[in-house]
């Protein structure tokens, strides 16, 4: 099964309606903090040779497959690019990413990934408790938040924040105060040739380059590795776009909304996808499925090969090499020809 073009378009338009106004509002509020952009970073990196990059997303396989342990055991010398939601898991397990991406314009939730100094003032929200993004947040949220504040403060000077102008200004304030270096980008919201294009409006406001997002921060991190870092190859971990076999529907991200559509059985809004590489069936929802379909489109445009080393999930198809993480870390370590390692899947 795949999304039809009409369904793909409907989800894209719904997400634009959901995020554009807030993103534009935040872009205005972030103006005082704009200094360097992703193009400045690219210029700073220009003399360096192209290397493979590792993108760490926050899907449940990140902890279920012990991806960070494998990276530390085998070693990896290239740039590590991390989605904001995976930062806590990386730091708690002794891995400091060189780059962290953030893009979601939610005004209250996302700052939690950096340690939220105002956590007790936020609206009640069980988003983090219900999901498998970072199980450390499932209990004793306030203590875990204090730990995260301390971890980010300790390692911030070694992390570059690749921050979208759509992000809450509180994230810019928090990460600057902690000592991170910030590099800005605009999300490419819509077709810049459309009348009243949001992308063109935000570009005229701040003159910051617009980057394709992929609809979520993990894919944005992969786009960054492909386009700004100009990586020789990109391996991704924690990019499940789905829930592991056996996940309860109430532990999926859109459960409350699916209840509105299917009051008697919200699970009817979820879909089972068989992964032939794993010989397992994973559960996905319309949003996650949209992410996977987008990634399959984008990978066709990518200049460098992509290896999915998640060892879980539903992200497979033409242009994506679904491989064990240790195998690809060895390939990168040995410096062999990455394109020769790809095969049609």
């Amino acid at each position: 099964m795949t999304l039809s073009e009409e369904q793909f378009r409907l989800l894209s338009e719904a997400t634009l309606r959901k995020t554009a106004a807030r993103g534009l509002e935040h872009a205005r509020a972030n103006l005082p903090y704009l200094q360097k952009t992703i193009r400045d970073l690219q210029a700073e990196l220009a003399p360096a040779p192209r290397r493979p990059a590792l993108v760490i997303s926050a899907g449940p396989s990140l902890h279920k497959r012990n991806s960070i342990g494998k990276i530390k055991d085998r070693g990896f010398e290239g740039p590590i690019v991390c989605a904001d939601g995976a930062l806590g898991h990386c730091l708690r397990n002794g891995l400091i990413p060189e780059y962290v991406l953030t893009v979601d314009p939610d005004p209250h939730r996302i700052i939690r990934w950096f340690g939220d100094p105002r956590l007790t003032e936020r609206p009640a929200d069980d988003y983090f408790r219900r999901q498998d993004l970072d199980p450390a947040l499932h209990k004793d949220e306030e203590r875990k938040n204090e730990e995260m504040i301390a971890l980010v403060n300790r390692y911030a000077s070694r992390i570059k924040l690749i921050i979208a102008t759509s992000s809450s200004p509180e994230i810019a304030q928090r990460c600057r105060a902690a000592g991170m270096e910030l590099y800005w980008w605009n999300p490419l919201y819509d077709d810049y040739d459309r009348p009243d294009s949001v992308s063109r409006t935000v570009f005229r406001l701040n003159k910051v380059s617009c980057m394709v997002t992929g609809g979520n921060v993990g894919t944005s991190a992969w786009v960054f590795a492909q386009s700004i870092l100009r990586s020789a190859a990109v391996a991704v971990v924690g990019m499940d776009c789905s829930y592991p076999p056996g996940t309860k529907p109430e532990n999926t991200q859109y459960y409350e909304h699916l209840k509105e559509i299917f009051p008697d059985d919200p699970a009817r809004g979820l879909v089972n996808i068989y992964n032939p590489h794993l010989r397992e069936t994973w559960l996905t929802d319309p949003g996650y499925y949209w992410y996977a379909q987008i990634f399959l489109k984008l990978v066709q445009m990518a200049p460098a090969p992509t290896f999915n080393c998640t060892e879980g999930g539903i992200l497979f198809g033409p242009g994506i090499e679904f491989r064990p993480l240790v195998e690809i870390l060895s390939l990168f370590h040995d410096g062999r020809d990455y394109s020769a390692a790809t095969r049609t899947t």
Partner: protein
Amino acid sequence: MSKLLKGNYEIDRKEDNETAAAANNDFTKVFESKALEKLGGSIAFVVKADQFVWDGDDDVK
């Protein structure tokens, strides 16, 4: 609405066919609902002219 969904493999067994059809119908209902807006992604997505980064073309000048 079934024309909106494209299958990409053949299913052999009749009962599997019926299960898949029911799943497709349910999924289609999601796209017909008012809740669709709440089900979207973290941030808007579009891609144009096979470009990952747009630097504003004429707006730069």
